[in-house]
Every structure is written in structure tokens, then in C-alpha cells.
């Protein structure tokens, strides 16, 4: 099982803080948005509205970053701290 967290306006727009995906439904980071949309078609518009940043196990990820069973993945807008 893969845990997916959402933050900031993405969390608000989906009205969801945390979702899960079945192990094996994603291999790399680039698979995440299509897999989320397949499992939750009502999220398609929001998830495709702009590119989101993605972390795997609390480190910023690239499209080719591998996702394994048990990983914690997060999707969020560009950061604005400081």
C-alpha cells in the first residue's frame, strides 16, 4: 500500500488530506497522478489543472523516482515558506 498526502490548496481543492493506492498501481512518480485519477475520477480536473510537486519518502522527487510498497508520497503546490 502506498500512502498519498495532499497539502495546501491541493488539500483544500480535493477536500482530502490523505489517500491510499494499492501496491503495484504505480512504479515511478510519473504514474501517480494517472493512478489517483483512475481510482478517483472526480479528482481529474483538480489534479490536471496544473503541475504539482511530488515527494517520495519526504524527499523531492522527479518523474523517474521509483515508488515502492510502503512509501509515503506527497503532492503539493510550489512551496512559499520563508
Amino acid at each position: 500500500m502506498i500512502t498519498v498526502l495532499f497539502f495546501a490548496q491541493l488539500r483544500e481543492q480535493l477536500a482530502c488530506e490523505e489517500a491510499t493506492l494499492a501496491a503495484g498501481s504505480v512504479a515511478v512518480a510519473a504514474d501517480l497522478v494517472p493512478a489517483l485519477i483512475a481510482a478517483n475520477p472526480q479528482w481529474a480536473e483538480v489534479l490536471q489543472s496544473r503541475p504539482w510537486l511530488l515527494s517520495v519518502n519526504q524527499a523531492m522527487a522527479k518523474p523517474v523516482t521509483t515508488i515502492n510498497d510502503g512509501d509515503e508520497v506527497a503532492l503539493f503546490p510550489p512551496v512559499t515558506g520563508g
Binding site: P78, V79, G81, G82
Partner: protein, 158 residues
């Protein structure tokens, strides 16, 4: 609270912080320190018409201190530094409130200025914090500034 190396401190907290206390910490660690640079970021009202009344800071707790500690480690690879402090607040902050403190001490001023600037530029683009502005007219998430990406990218273009 994470001690990155003996002389470094990374903290994410709701409470306010004291510049004087963090300076005292650096003073205790001073080996042959000749230069200390502090940066403090604060909540701005932004405009007189419909000013920001409060800023809400969300973060990704499991990732935040990891990201900041990574920035501290990168700064230490680039420059010879005595001590580094990063404190970042989260939660709801009033106009004028302190948001972030970055402090760097070193032998000469060049290293301290460069490292403080590096940490702020990269914190703004690589640490998982998000700001939401509350105004009389409503709340809105702050958009990332393209300038911040440019400022951060220049550290890696050489």
C-alpha cells in the same frame, strides 16, 4: 528540534522565537568567530487597501526538518562555518510577526553572508511550507514567486 551537527540547530515551531536567545546560543559556540549574519522574515500587511490581517503557515511535518537539515548540510559543504541556526514558525501569524530566523557565524563575513543568503533562497523553494493570507476580502494561498526560483537556481548554475 534537531541537532544537525553539534553546532547547528533546526527548529519548526508555533511559538515565537527570540533573536537575543539565538544570538546567545551562537556566542556560546563561538570558536574563532569574526562574523555573524542574521536574517529575520516577517509577516507584511502588503497593501493599505484590504491589508493582510494574518498569515497561516502550513507545512509537511515529516519532511520539513529533513529538508532544512539537508540545506544546512549543503551550506556546510560549500563554506567553512562555525554555527548555523534555522527556526521556522507554522500556524496562524499576525501582521508584523516573525516567521523565520536564519543565523550563520563564521570566521570572515563573506562566508556568513553567502551561507545565510543560500539558506534563505533554498528554504523558499525547497522546504515544504505554504502560506495562506487572510484579508477582510477573504483568504487565498500565496503564489510562489518566480524570482525565488531564479534566486535559488543561481546557486547551482556555476
Amino acid at each position: 528540534m534537531t541537532d544537525v551537527v553539534e553546532h547547528d540547530l533546526v527548529q519548526v515551531q508555533q511559538e515565537d522565537f527570540s533573536l537575543a536567545e539565538h544570538y546567545a546560543r551562537l556566542e556560546q559556540l563561538a570558536g574563532n568567530t569574526g562574523a555573524v549574519v542574521f536574517f529575520i522574515g516577517k509577516v507584511r500587511a502588503e497593501s493599505e487597501v484590504d491589508p493582510v490581517q494574518a498569515l497561516e503557515l502550513e507545512h509537511y511535518p515529516a519532511m520539513t526538518e529533513k529538508s532544512l537539515s539537508r540545506l544546512v548540510a549543503e551550506a556546510r559543504e560549500r563554506w567553512s562555518l562555525d554555527a548555523i541556526t534555522i527556526v521556522h514558525r507554522v500556524g496562524k501569524l499576525a501582521v508584523g510577526a516573525q516567521i523565520v530566523l536564519v543565523a550563520v557565524s563564521s570566521r570572515h563575513r563573506d562566508e556568513a553572508f553567502l551561507a545565510a543568503r543560500f539558506l534563505m533562497d533554498n528554504l523558499k523553494t525547497r522546504a515544504p511550507f505554504w502560506k495562506k493570507e487572510h484579508r477582510a476580502s477573504g483568504a487565498r494561498w500565496v503564489a510562489a514567486r518566480e524570482q525565488d526560483d531564479v534566486a535559488a537556481a543561481q546557486w547551482f548554475s556555476q
